[in-house]
């Protein structure tokens, strides 16, 4: 790697994004693709050069930033972040490619914001200094807000975007107090994560600080019951942004738990121990998300809630406090980051072709769109954790980890897993193979006619370009499913 490799990984999308925003649509698209490709190449190069035998951060860059506060510009990657950086760059590229050029001068601005968000999220994964981490954490919110609002779908994108911003800000500003508190109350007098980890505060102080940090992360992930913004935001999000939003942004929260909560607060207990509360919330989220997914008729909302359920596994793995569970969580972060964007892409294309997001309006699509149906099947199976596909590996590791932490939790989580096939397969079967009947349509035969009208459009299966977008995601689902060592071999220490 070049000496400034890590800086480039966040700076390139940010500078590129600012430039792209000023360009006319086609030029903007080309430049943003170029920026995203180079970023992905840099990230992949980093993962390739990553040495699994080295303990701690690699490729570090440390420059004094604010000497009065002992804050440094300190970047580095370790086994937790290395794959997430790659994932972010990959999803960023796919999001850029998925952006249509037809929007006039607005296209350039959208692409610019998309790259800015990618850069911000890369910065979150790369920062080793808490203050720097916070700057990126907040900065990525601004492009997300603008994309959600100005390019959002549905009737109330402004409401959804503002709800998202206020929710996440309430958490992250409390984290700001936590960051200040860590500086003073742990005696570390530093924002440098390894330094702070070396200063464990007393349990009651840890209790308070844990709360201040965790509230930001559980909202961002989101963990049940802090998911109030999730449905509105995911439903409103424009597709390209939703890929990065669902695929990567939630991961910043889970990543932060692993990066900050676990090493900094070994024993956050006063009235109760937070470390024992978190896994229960995670399991509650697994159930709640799955049950809500069952109840949804809106396709995007269904995927949104399934995402909530799957994020529960990641959090459960993190708070199982053993290597297996936490490695499983990391693997699952990557998996989830591949599956959910693929699902949302497929849903978006389905909606494009039929003009509705109502699950019950779909039927018998498979004969007309065999390719789409086939890909949909693979991604659905991956999502519900079929062995041989990627999600199985991660969820299995998480469950093993959870078992050694608490068998009760593992059993509960396992039974939550049973719900996933129900909502995924019901969706798949209903949309692809169900015969046409007017009964389960909300508007009876009028609805059937409307849906039939949409489906009577000429044969429009997935094109080569769309397949090419999905190909890397689906390929990686197989690769990780069959050869998980690819991910886990970097996690040996």
């Amino acid at each position: 790697m070049t000496p400034f490799g890590l800086t480039l990984i966040w700076l390139l999308p940010v500078v590129g994004g600012a430039a792209v925003a000023l360009l006319p649509p086609h030029l903007a698209k080309w430049l943003s693709v170029l920026v995203a490709v180079v970023t992905l190449a840099l990230a992949a190069l980093g993962a390739y050069a990553f040495n699994p035998l080295v303990h701690g951060y690699q490729f570090t860059e440390q420059v004094t930033w604010i000497p009065q506060l002992h804050a440094d510009y300190f970047l580095g990657v370790d086994y937790i972040s290395v794959w997430l950086v790659v994932l972010n760059a990959l999803i960023g590229l796919i999001a850029v490619l998925a952006t249509p050029v037809g929007g006039g001068p607005r296209t350039g601005r959208f692409l610019g914001l998309l790259l800015l968000m990618e850069g911000g999220m890369a910065g979150v994964f790369l920062s080793v200094d808490l203050l720097l981490f916070y700057v990126f954490w907040e900065a990525m919110l601004i492009p997300a807000y603008f994309m959600l609002w100005l390019w959002g779908e549905g009737e109330r994108p402004l409401f959804a975007s503002l709800k998202f911003v206020l929710y996440t800000l309430a958490g992250s500003l409390l984290m700001l107090v936590g960051i200040i508190g860590v500086f003073f109350f742990t005696g570390a007098r530093s924002f440098n994560l390894p330094d702070i980890a070396a200063h464990q505060a007393s349990p009651d102080i840890q209790f308070g600080l844990f709360f201040l940090f965790a509230i930001a992360f559980v909202i961002k992930v989101p963990v049940f019951p802090f998911h109030g913004w999730l449905r509105d935001a995911y439903v409103a999000a424009p597709t390209p942004m939703l890929l990065a939003f669902s695929g990567v942004m939630g991961k910043t929260g889970a990543y932060a738990m692993l990066r900050i909560l676990i090493p900094l607060f070994h024993n956050p207990s006063l009235w109760w121990n937070w470390n024992q509360v978190m896994p229960w919330l995670a399991v509650a989220g697994i159930f709640w998300g799955a049950l809500m997914a069952l109840a949804q008729t809106d396709l995007k909302a269904l995927v949104a809630y399934s995402s909530l359920s799957h994020m529960g596994f990641i959090v459960l793995g993190i708070f199982s406090f053993n290597q297996l569970g936490q490695q499983g969580a990391i693997v699952q972060m990557v998996n989830h980051g591949l599956i959910v964007p693929a699902l949302f892409l497929l849903v978006a294309w389905l909606v494009d072709r039929t003009g509705t997001r109502d699950r019950s309006a779909f039927f018998g699509l498979a004969p007309r769109m065999p390719v789409l149906a086939g890909v949909f099947l693979v991604v659905s199976l991956a999502a519900l954790g079929l062995p041989g596909l990627n999600s199985f590996v991660g969820e299995f590791m998480v469950l093993l980890g959870a078992w050694s932490y608490s068998p009760v939790l593992a059993v509960l989580a396992c039974s939550g897993l049973v719900l996933a096939p129900i909502y995924m397969l019901r969706l798949f079967q209903g949309a692809m193979y169900a015969p046409a009947t007017g009964e389960d349509l909300p508007h009876g035969h009028a609805g059937l006619e409307a849906a039939g009208h949409a489906l009577a459009a000429p044969h429009n299966d997935l094109g080569a370009a769309q397949l090419a977008l999905l190909a890397p995601l689906v390929a990686l689902m197989f690769v990780i499913g069959l050869y998980p060592f690819l991910l886990t071999h970097l996690m040996s220490p």
Partner: protein, 495 residues
């Protein structure tokens, strides 16, 4: 004794004392020159000439301040004023504020039809008053600066002579301000009674030895009420929205930054340098005022329909944040306040500069709807206004974020964690109304002619936005300057 000192006051002593207040002197001389030039020139050329003279005067004041710093400022006029780095910091601050104000104001005054050289003369007078407040080390000089500033501002508020709202605001400000001054004066009299002196260093010694005196505490309370009035902190903020709304927007811009900064200068001076021995007493008072300001300002701002009133309430809330930092540990607390004032100067003046540009010939445009479609009409202006709003809301990577971070971390170090938690929760509320402004900027609106942006406003806005972003990314240089500026206070308080 005073008489004897006056008799022995030699020319060389006078020279030495004058040198310590040289930035103030430069501004005052400029003011006199401006009046004479105004009389000599033909009517058409007056306003521009006086504006140029004012800018030259402010630049001269900056130069004088830097020379003063290089020479090493110290106490002057038997401890009534000083040329220390704290004073130098504020001299430069107010001169920069003056320059930016002239740059954004000139085209506005012409468009609104009340372009008159008097405006700049008043501006110079108000700035001179602020500079006196920055270098005052005695209650008498504090009051002198306060009145010089206030009287000039009363007139400026009512400057739109044919606009009844402006007239009303001027009258209201005069009455309310007079009230506040009376409070300050009463408090000062009681403090004088309790300590036997108006010079801060003497008060510090006396107050330390008889800290339980009720006379002293009552004096502090009354003076604190008056000061809280001037920084528009709750529950003494009532005048702020009305005056901000009624005054011509250019005056509001100047006043919102200048009055606040000057009042904080004297609060720091008087409380931290003059009354460090009784800090637990005034600390409780200021903590209450800070909490009330953050709650009243942020909740009040939500329901506003006028941008000027919104920024008024935002200013009340910001005063609360600054007070939180002021209560913080020494010296980080004072450093953070000075840093935040610099950030506030650029982000608030920048936001007002955009409003000034939007003002029509008949009236100021301060409805939210006036911003609609700005993103299409003037994309560059829309982007910078968005940056200013994000900075006021405290988003990184802007000056507003890092400034708030300094304030809050100083307060946590000083043991005011509860106040910081309240502050961040109120910051979440503030995001709602700052984002309302952003929403209107980027909403579709009437397709009008784009707003013309002259050279002066262009320079002022460019400088402001550059500072807002650079301070957010590389704050250490200005933080170092703030530390330098606050050093005399830390030194005095430590004795």
């Amino acid at each position: 004794m005073i008489l004897a000192a006056a008799v022995n006051y030699s020319w060389s002593q006078a020279q030495g004392d004058l040198a310590q207040v040289s930035p103030f002197l430069v501004v005052t001389i400029t003011l006199l020159v401006a009046i004479i030039v105004d009389l000599l020139l033909p009517a058409a050329a007056r306003a521009l000439a006086v504006a140029g003279i004012a800018v030259a005067g402010f630049l001269g004041a900056i130069a004088a301040a830097l020379l003063l710093h290089a020479a090493g400022g110290h106490a002057a006029y038997s401890g009534f004023a000083t040329g220390d780095d704290f004073a130098v910091f504020f001299d430069v601050f107010f001169a920069v504020l003056g320059i930016l104000t002239v740059l954004v104001t000139h085209p506005y005054l012409a468009r609104r039809g009340f372009l008159a050289p008097e405006f700049y003369v008043l501006l110079l007078a108000a700035t001179a008053g602020m500079m006196v407040m920055g270098s005052a080390t005695s209650l008498v000089t504090v009051f002198l600066g306060l009145e010089l500033l206030s009287i000039a501002l009363y007139v400026m508020t009512g400057f739109a002579r044919k606009d009844t709202r402006s007239q009303e605001a001027g009258a209201k400000y005069l009455l309310m301000g007079g009230f506040a001054s009376a409070f300050v004066l009463y408090g000062m009299a009681l403090i004088y009674g309790a300590t036997g002196s108006t010079v801060l260093s003497t008060i510090a010694k006396e107050a330390g030895s008889n800290s339980g005196s009720n006379l002293l505490l009552l004096g502090i309370l009354l003076m604190g009420v008056g000061f809280a009035f001037k920084v528009s902190a709750a529950p003494f903020q009532m005048w702020t929205p009305d005056v901000y709304e009624g005054a011509p927007v250019a005056v509001t811009a100047f006043m919102s930054v200048g009055t606040k900064a000057a009042a904080f200068a004297i609060i720091i001076r008087v409380f931290l340098q003059g009354l460090p021995g009784v800090s637990t007493d005034w600390g409780a008072f200021l903590a209450f005022v800070a909490a009330a300001s953050m709650v009243v300002g942020n909740l009040g701002a939500i329901v506003q329909t006028s941008l000027k009133r919104l920024l008024a309430y935002s200013g009340i809330a910001q005063a609360g944040y600054i007070l939180v930092g002021l209560l913080g540990a020494r010296p980080a607390g004072q450093d953070s306040v000075l840093f935040y004032l610099v950030a506030y100067l650029f982000m608030n003046l920048g936001a007002f500069a955009v409003l000034i540009l939007l003002a029509g010939p008949a009236a100021d445009s301060d409805r939210f709807e006036d911003l609609d479609g700005l993103g299409r009409r003037n994309p560059a202006l829309a982007v910078v206004m968005t940056v200013f709003m994000l900075s006021l809301a405290g988003f990184p990577p802007t000056a507003g974020f890092i400034g708030k971070f300094f304030l809050f971390s100083a307060a946590v170090a000083g043991g005011y964690t509860w106040l910081v938690v309240l502050a961040v929760l109120m910051s979440v509320v503030s995001v709602y109304y700052y984002f309302r402004v952003i929403v209107h900027i980027w909403s579709p609106g009437p397709v009008e002619e784009r707003v013309p942006v002259g050279l002066g406003p262009r320079v002022a806005i460019a400088v402001s936005v550059a500072f807002v972003i650079v301070l957010g990314i590389l704050p250490s240089l200005v933080l170092g300057l703030a530390h330098l500026g606050a050093a005399p206070i830390a030194l005095a308080a430590g004795r």
